[in-house]
């Protein structure tokens, strides 16, 4: 479908995705009224990833692109996950160091 003429899909699919994005944004906002905890965190992340997936796959037409382009764009961000893990460890270390140091003022 990705020819020189460009991407051409039925308008219905965009209206559907639009509706789904509204729905999931509503759900996202709904999590703000839940008590804090693992369930709320999981729902926040799930709705975030569903919305991101719909935008990238349909609105940005990634679902219809060649695999070479998909890999070129989406493999590099995998390193971001490594970065997140590293900075979580670093953040925890800084927090613990501060807790210990602040116990002995002066």
């Amino acid at each position: 479908m990705a020819t020189a003429e460009g991407q051409q899909h039925p308008i219905k699919i965009y209206l559907w995705i639009w509706f789904l994005l509204f729905l999931f944004s509503g759900f996202s906002y709904g999590t703000d009224f839940m008590p804090d905890g693992p369930l709320r965190t999981t729902l926040i992340l799930t709705f975030m990833l569903v919305k991101a997936g719909l935008i990238i796959a349909i609105f940005m037409h990634m679902a219809w692109e060649r695999l070479a382009l998909i890999y070129a764009i989406f493999l590099p961000p995998v390193f971001i996950l490594v970065f997140i893990v590293l900075m979580t460890i670093e953040g925890d270390y800084t927090f613990l160091t501060r807790e210990i140091m602040f116990m002995f003022p002066g």
Binding site: W18, S25, D32, T41, I55, L67, F95
Partner: protein, 233 residues
């Protein structure tokens, strides 16, 4: 699925492999351009990849200062709450901004579609609607910043509610996102004007509208992450 790629010199090449790793290998190893898309689209995607890293760095920076601080993090649900007609509604303005940006993504997707159908009027009208939604978003963000700075006393180096890192994270992340939206509105207006004047009819292709759409959807995409990780978490 038969597939054709156009080389830089305008020749058409048949590509054998259509799926799986074999298609990746045939695309990268053949003596031709790798990506079977207009160069502008490939370049926009690569620019967006760099932008993914920029916003990831901001969000990871926010994550690590929030983990490392020993002071309580301000409750965003309360900080961004609004009272309308005596009703106290948490995070209301941010929710409205989210729905506005999603609507703008919807109108943009339709504009791309009508562009490829060579429907100039509808394409331009939908792009202008997208730009209007974007401008409304930036306006509400300006209102939000003003409220936070003037009424709540939030500064990049501190605030009365708790961890001082809250202000620097907030201004950095939403500031950069707002700058992207502002640039997007200008970008949309420029391309919409060219749609109206028939520039893309003379060029013979409406791919620029799709490329503009990629940028705009990306701005919406970033907001999805900011909304979840900064405002809701």
């Amino acid at each position: 699925m038969a597939y054709e790629a156009v080389t830089n010199t305008g020749e058409t090449l048949a590509v054998a492999e259509t799926h799986g790793w074999n298609s990746v290998i045939s695309d990268w190893s053949a003596d031709k351009q790798t990506f079977g898309v207009p160069w502008g689209k490939a370049m926009m995607w690569i620019f967006l990849l760099s932008d993914i890293f920029i916003f990831s760095c901001f969000l990871i920076g926010y994550m690590s200062v929030r983990i490392a601080t020993t002071e309580p993090w301000p409750d965003t649900s309360e900080v961004f709450a609004m009272t309308i007609a005596g009703q106290h509604i948490p995070l209301l303005l941010i929710a409205i901004m989210t729905f506005i940006l999603i609507s703008s993504s919807g109108t943009m997707a339709m504009a791309v579609n009508f562009g490829y159908r060579r429907d100039k009027k509808k394409t331009a009208a939908l792009m202008l609607a997208t730009a209007a939604f974007g401008a409304a978003f930036v306006g509400m963000q300006a209102f939000e910043w003003t409220k936070l700075i003037v009424e709540e006393g939030v500064r990049p180096w501190g605030n009365p509610m708790g961890a001082p890192q809250f202000g620097s994270s907030f201004f950095m992340i939403t500031g950069f996102h707002g700058a992207h939206v502002t640039a997007g509105v200008i970008y949309l207006l420029v391309v919409a004007k060219r749609v109206i004047t028939g520039f893309y009819d003379r060029k013979g292709s409406y791919e620029t509208v799709e490329i503009t759409g990629l940028y705009w959807h990306f701005v919406d995409l970033v907001w999805v992450f900011i909304f979840a990780l900064f405002y809701l978490w």
